[in-house]
Amino acid sequence: MKGPRLRILIPVAILVTLLAPILRQLPGGAQLPDVWLVLLLLSIPVPAPDSWRRSVHLVILFGILRSSVTAISPFTAWAGFGMALFVRETLARRLSEYNPLLRLVTGFSAAVPLALLDRLAAQQLGAELDVTDAWIRCLCTGLLMAFFHRPARASFLSKGGGR
């Protein structure tokens, strides 16, 4: 299955970036999931395509966009996104993509490394990210992954799928 076209994905990512600070100010905004991570997980299919070029480009782009509106370093975003894709890929190869509960577990697990790195980066800056908020962010990511079902890549149906 092919991922969304870049000409749609990039404007959406930029729009999400511009709105992210406003969303964070809303009541309960601290518990909202990381929008770039959600977008990344939704735009890259599982199992991973043969070519990882698109995934790498999206990780770099989303990391740059994310660090434009936060004090946290882009390295945290890049490392967190990379780990999230690794975790999801590892779990998705073992767990069914057709079970919402398992998709929730996969999404939740994929969000954990980024949440941990964010917390560490915040501590280094002298700020404190609430642990409960971090867990709720991971849970929300998992819920979104469970809700937005992306079927496994039917590579036998399309040539060069996922590019």
Binding site: T17, S67, S68, P74, A79, G82, L129
Partner: protein
């Protein structure tokens, strides 16, 4: 369709895993040089995005900036004036007191770094004081900075005189234990007259200018440490560094240049707010941009500190909004009624909210107006100013 052989896939997984691992290491243990290079490369993209997000935020939320109370703020010179009033020791015939701001304080090593050196004609061994308190002597003197070796530093011996009931001074020597702790009275002419709380006067060395004794400098008060019944008791010198001495000290000099006051270089530049909220850390952080050719450390809004700059990315950065009381050890309070300066521990216990100023150090100027103790963190206006207390690189050890 081309399927990767297992070996090729494993190679790719390994390489990508290593790359992600390296990124994670950089994220956990950031190397400033790498961060700087990346921030320079990304600044042309990130700065406009942050500015656009800020404009959208202002447009949709339309929050106005409250700047009330700024006009009534005590000026920075109020703190300086108080420090001068409290810190200038008694006049000594034939000598002058040079006023030098303090760059940093390292209590663990028993050292103050002051913002003047050979450029201000300072020399090793000169006596340093604040008010009636003897602080120590100048150690290493560099071009634009000098070290003050506090008399309580580990291993330093200082002569003192205990005022006995008969009025005759008892000569003694104390031995510093460092770490800001009490020095031990190591040798004494006579310990029989010692009492808890007795005042201890500083005693000059034989080769010091004789007039220095007239300054009447104190070391602290005598105190008994340990249990005398078990033979473990020690007479120690109970003391504390005055809060004002963390801002400026006075150095005795027999010969002076044209200036009696040394002023550290302070750099300022205009700045503008980009974004009021951090998308991950929340509203306690804000982004700002400035074309300053230095890395700022603090942001002010109409002469009042608006935030501490924690991240600087080549022309723009992120500052943290802090309530005045949240500066904690980084703030000193001015008590105008009692005419005293208070350190963090003292002002935290105060019943009435006191005006707070920056304590200074770590490239943050001293005496910037923070606000009253009970005030909340202020929202930054659109026009700001960034500052940095400058120093020669070789001096900021």
């Amino acid at each position: 369709m081309f399927l990767l052989p297992g070996a090729e896939r494993y190679r790719r997984v390994l390489l990508t895993g290593a790359a992600v691992g390296l990124l994670a290491v950089q994220a956990m243990f950031p190397l400033p040089q790498i961060e700087h290079v990346v921030s320079v490369v990304l600044a042309p993209v990130q700065k406009p995005i942050a500015a656009l997000a800020g404009e959208l935020d202002d447009l949709l939320t339309g929050t106005s900036v409250d700047s009330t109370g700024v006009a009534l703020a005590p000026t920075r010179s109020a703190l300086v004036a108080m420090e001068r009033r409290l810190g200038l020791p008694a006049a000594i015939p034939g000598m002058a007191w040079l006023e030098v701001p303090v760059w940093s304080l390292d209590l663990e090593r028993g050292r103050l770094v002051i913002a003047a050196g050979t450029d201000f004609h300072l020399a090793k061994g000169q006596v340093v004081a604040f008010g009636e308190s003897f602080l120590g002597r100048l150690g290493e003197v560099r071009e634009h900075a000098a070290d003050v070796e506090l008399w309580s530093a580990a291993g330093l011996r200082t002569g003192l005189a205990v005022l006995s009931e008969t009025g005759l001074p008892i000569r003694a020597v104390c031995f510093g234990r460092g770490g800001g702790g009490a020095a031990v009275v190591e040798w004494s002419e006579d310990e029989t007259d010692y009492q808890d709380g007795q005042a201890l006067m500083w005693r000059p060395r034989p080769l010091d200018p004789p007039n220095l004794e007239q300054a009447g400098l104190h070391l602290g008060a005598l105190s008994l440490e340990g249990d005398p019944n078990r033979g473990e008791a020690l007479w120690v010198v109970d003391h504390a560094i005055p809060a004002g001495a963390q801002g400026r000290v006075f150095i005795a000099a027999g010969a002076v240049g044209s200036e009696l006051i040394a002023d550290p270089a302070e750099r300022r530049h205009g700045a503008s707010r980009l974004l009021r909220t951090d998308a991950l850390l929340g509203s306690g952080w804000y982004a700002l941009s400035s074309s300053a050719d230095f890395t700022p450390t603090v942001v002010t809004d109409q002469a009042k500190v608006s935030g501490e700059l924690r991240v600087w990315r080549s022309g723009w950065g992120w500052a943290r909004r802090l309530a005045p009381a949240a500066w904690d050890e980084g703030a000193v309070a001015l008590n105008p009624d009692a005419g005293e300066l208070l350190g963090a521990k003292a002002w935290e216990e105060s019943a009435n909210p006191l005006p707070l100023f920056t304590r200074g150090g770590a490239h943050i100027p001293r005496g910037l107006w923070l606000g009253y103790q009970d005030e909340a963190a202020m929202y930054p206006a659109t026009s700001l100013e960034v500052l940095r207390l400058d120093a020669q690189a070789e001096d900021s050890r």
